[in-house]
Symmetry: C2
Subunit: 420 residues, 2 copies
């Protein structure tokens, strides 16, 4: 029965936890280098496994975009190996002392990072997630169970094989990285119920996957909700910055979660600035869905726009479409964001210090951006080195999750015989 085998698999992961938690940085780094080396050495068999996956996906009529996500090339395998090696250079979070203080009775208290335990990574087509997640888990002292999409099963299998060879050659247990080969829904459901064996589930994929995980999980899950991100152009915005930022936030990669979906513009500058922004967006192919105040301002200047439907606010378009609303002031912008935003990424364009301060303080989002593009809410861009996912809930971690977010902290108390 699949529930039993999933439990056994998780128990085997669990059994590696103490070894992984206590592995030195040198051991983990050596393993990462060995894993990268094994990926390169196995490139041929990884590519041929990938070819089989691709053939099947083509025969099943999957889209060109899907096939592109699934496809591996020698260059992509090299990039995977380099990404694993890049983790070597990141500081080891395990054992890090984050704070220390002294109590009046002489006790020395500190907080030290420790791994979470066993991670369950659930993802879809991209095979590189297999090696990325394994490397991040290992460096942060966690075991990982990898559950990729069924379409990438052979590719992921070949990659995981190489990764485990790397682990073994540096003396770490192969079960630290486990690929689930039973990709039935029932087995995923069984994994999601393994309270006490799996410490954190990180789903990375579309809303369907995220919803399934959330509904079935009895284990903690990193929430990854949609990104309904706004750019608020304030009365004191620098027009050039406003144009650059709005354009970039909307058009740089419209299909991702940190792309902007809605432009809020202050009524004081809308008559002058909105036509400029609208025309720039329009020239990049963006469809503007404008509120009743914005619409005539745009049309009067010859910028094409359509009336916004009520549900266009708070909507994640994920394409070249942008809702536009004119707001009277900062408070109205904050109200709009509080009501329609998804707490993912919110940006302000303003030169006014007070407005910046209030926006930063009052907006509840995993990233609050002042005078820069929403697209910077990303682990790499923020300097985390690598990211394993983005959390859109405030529990445990909020925003991009790097190595540190895969750890917890324990209190360490040093005394000289103190009692109560």
């Amino acid at each position: 029965m699949s529930a039993t085998s999933m439990r056994q698999l998780a128990e085997a992961s669990c059994a590696t936890c103490r070894t992984l938690a206590n592995a030195s940085s040198d051991t983990k780094n050596a393993a990462l280098r060995d894993m990268a080396r094994a990926l390169r050495a196995d490139a041929k068999s990884i590519l041929s496994a990938n070819e089989e996956d691709l053939a099947e996906a083509k025969a099943a009529g999957r889209s060109a975009a899907f096939l592109d996500r699934l496809a591996l090339t020698p260059a992509r395998i090299e990039a995977m190996a380099e990404a694993v090696e890049a983790i070597v250079a990141l500081p080891d979070p395990v054992g890090e002392i984050t704070e220390r203080w002294k109590r009046p009775n002489g006790l020395q208290v500190s907080r030290m990072r420790l791994p979470l335990g066993v991670l369950l990574m659930i993802y879809e087509a991209r095979p590189n997630v297999t090696s990325d997640a394994a490397a991040l888990a290992l460096k942060s002292g966690n075991a990982v169970i990898l559950r990729g999409g069924r379409e990438a099963l052979r590719s992921n299998g070949a990659i995981a094989r190489a990764l485990r060879l790397g682990l073994i050659s540096s003396g770490l247990p192969a079960e630290a990285v486990t690929l689930v080969t039973d990709v039935a829904h029932a087995s995923l459901g069984a994994l999601l119920e393994l309270e006490g064996l799996i410490d954190l589930c990180i789903p990375r994929g579309g809303q369907g996957l995220v919803k399934f995980v959330h509904e079935h999980a009895r284990i903690p899950v990193v929430e990854h909700a949609e990104g309904v991100c706004h750019v608020y152009v304030h009365a004191d915005a620098d027009p050039k910055k406003a144009e650059d930022i709005v354009l970039n936030a909307k058009t740089h990669r419209p299909g991702v979660c940190n792309a902007a979906e809605c432009l809020l513009i202050d009524s004081a500058v809308a008559p002058e600035l909105l036509p400029r922004l609208g025309s720039a967006l329009s020239s990049k192919g963006v469809t503007l869905k404008a509120c009743p105040i914005a619409l005539p301002l745009l049309e009067r200047s010859g910028v094409e726009a359509v009336p916004a439907a009520p549900d266009d606010f708070g909507r994640e378009f994920l394409d070249l479409t942008m809702a536009v609303r004119v707001v009277p002031d900062l408070d109205a912008a904050l109200d709009h964001i509080g009501r329609f935003g998804s707490e993912h990424t919110e940006a302000l364009v303003s030169e006014d210090r007070n407005t910046q301060r209030r926006f930063v303080r009052e907006v509840a989002a995993s990233a609050v951006v002042v005078n820069a593009s929403t697209r910077f809410n990303d682990g790499g861009e923020l300097g985390l080195g690598a990211e394993i996912g983005i959390s859109t809930s405030r529990m445990h971690a909020f925003g991009p999750m790097g190595l540190r977010e895969l750890t917890s902290q324990k209190y360490v108390i040093h005394g000289t015989g103190q009692v109560r």
Copy 2:
């Protein structure tokens, strides 16, 4: 229907979140002072409500210990008011910048604390939790839904009324602190399903309550499992410290979660030291349940002991009973703790630096204590100022939770027009 009214209640709490999150420290502190004042002013009606609760509990045949937990006195109400005032002096975590760094492209990145949102506090007999939890929630910018035990309903009602008067008089919304008066199991079940409305549930009470919450919750819950805590007396232990610490850890308050349940003693010092420790414990009324090596060592010295059953290891006695095991070395102690400990509090007595380092690094517990009593794993003792609960899982917070643990962190990005 109770599910509908629980949803409405949570929606009303939720509606206060932005106001609370943006309230200044001054406003929150003024409200705390007003709440303390209102508790004192309403002492008479709180006491008479408590008398009714007590009468009912007595008639229902509740234990003396239960009645003592439930009972309020003028002194206890004064202590509640003082506890609320003590929160004024604690630093406001909201808006605190915890880190900042600069990216090569000039972006200034920082992390700023923000409240979690709506807390659900579930507790049993002690009415002082009502004011403690309300004060901690308010200072950390969170709304709180209080769901106390049915036996304390009138007392909690009178306390909550006073607290809300205090809130209103300082201009904050009364719905920031809401007491659930419908204490049916079904209404608790309904609250626990309010995903998206309640951000964190903190159950404080016996294992029955904790288990019910955990089984029914669709919202994040602070795990509070039992405390199976060990003291490991190493070969290089100072005998006097060992005696003081073992005695205190076991007998200071045997019924609490950070009391020790098991003594591990190194075989190198057991023949000499175990009789001394055993006799000290025994003279305090502790029943010793000894492993086959420890038993003759104790008996030979005239210390009474009984053989330990296999399930005495890993057991939370919560009374004057202690399991005793002789272990050959540090590795065996670490194995025992890894297998039988509950990741709550683990203590080492040793003067050897290397042993201390390994114990601190390798033991996974919310608090790892060197040469001090396990009883120091407590928010007050660690200097958190106050604690709302203890988390025994590594997600979000591990160990005692103070004001900071009731917050999350957002990324704040300041740019000068940067785009990708």
